[in-house]
Amino acid sequence: MLKVENLSVRYGAVAAVRDLSLSVGQGELIALLGPNGAGKSSTINALTGLVTPAAGRIVLDGVDISRSRTEDRIRGGLTSTPEGRHIFANLTVAENLRLGAAIRRDAKGVRQDIDRFLALFPVLSERYSQAAGTLSGGEQQMLAISRSLMSRPKLLLLDEPSLGLAPKIVIQIFDFIGQLKAEGLTLLLVEQNARQALRFADRVYVMSSGTLRFDGPPTGLADEHGLLNLYIGG
């Protein structure tokens, strides 16, 4: 589904990501873990095209998208729920969902998808015509993921879905992520919350200081000591 080869991202003299290679297979849930500043979000932004990588190749479904615009990558079936949720606070919940489906032309299918997410998250239904900025953090995260899914992506990139949320909400969000995987969606999940991320992950990559430190099954990390060592570069 997704193949990343020798990706590097630089901000001026600072290298945020160095020579990163990873792959995500059809139907897999891949967790990309690492401490703050490891280069995880830079990797995601390079995948969506919001930052231009200094080097490397990104191949989605056999198509090299390294030079494509963000808009064309989204239209190609990749989508991302950005870190910090980035819901459109000045728009209503309804308008947020509608913009998520902006690239679709099947009004009936869009309507069905909206109904599905409203049934899944009743709070979005209650707040349907309210400004999305009035939602709580957890509700905003539910809206942000629903909005991403409105484009019917093949591959969903989730950047820190647990960021700043109460533990109970985090479990609810991850239950939903597990459900998406069960439905056959391919996911690349970036997280600091390793415990939750490992619940459903098929494979794990661990980054630190811009480079890949680990690549393997979650059982390879079962020892929390090992993960800690990877985090601090031991």
Binding site: I74, R75, F88, L91, R98, A102
Partner: protein, 299 residues
Amino acid sequence: MDYVLQQLLNALAFGAEYSLVALGLAVVFSIMGLVNFAHGEIIGVSAYSVFLAAALGLTSPIVAVLLAIAAAALAAVIFERVAFRPVRYAPTTTGLLTAFGVSIVVQNLFMLLISPKPQSVSILNGLNQMWFFGPFAVSSLQVMELVVAGLTILALVLFLNRSTLGLAIRAASRDFATVRLMGIRANRVIATAFAISGALAGIAAVFIIARRGSVSPDLGFSLVLKAFVACVIGGFGSLPGAAAGGMLLGFIEVGLLVALPQEYGGFKDALSYVIIVTLLVYRPEGLLGQRVELGDKEI
């Protein structure tokens, strides 16, 4: 009574014109952070298009009105494509200087290709008549200006709230990167914003031509300065703020003209700005603007 009504209409008509031009500035600023000082030259292109069409034999005022609006929208889109797109991601001062550059180039083109002197255009003079409502005589142009501005703002509100592209423009005013993550093309959102901005300028141009009966190279420049002030009063980037700021500026100016004795009329602009500065001392973010601390980021 007649006098009060006349001055009230005066204020509303001036306010409507400022609102239209200020909205044009605000639509572009809200999504791009660009203060388009070449907005006046969009009015200029619109006016000179009508002048040229009339010189070439156009006689229908309706066609002239449509031409004015279409030419302005097209000019705005071309300005964006040629001048502003290459500097879209540059610092805001670069965009500002680019806008001044476009303004100067286009004004000089009018001077070189047509004439530095005002040129008479009479095709829209028919819009400027006296209408009699019982004992009251009012200027048809002012009534139309008010009605058309009202309808235009209504159409803009509907567009921004109902259409997907309108929603995208509103969303982009806060978070453009995430709009792109929805697969909505940035170029299309920006081109639409410029087309709207241009069309608003074209509508204003129609009324300017009808009132002055002539066109000159610096036709729109001072009006854009007024519109800029209207935006500042209303809160820069806020569309309702731009409309309200324009109206308020119209009322301040006409109110001062009425209140000042004849021989002090020349102080109108100076006193307007004193009032505006006083207002900004108490509400530095403008009437409807939001207070943003330096370094604040919306999460």
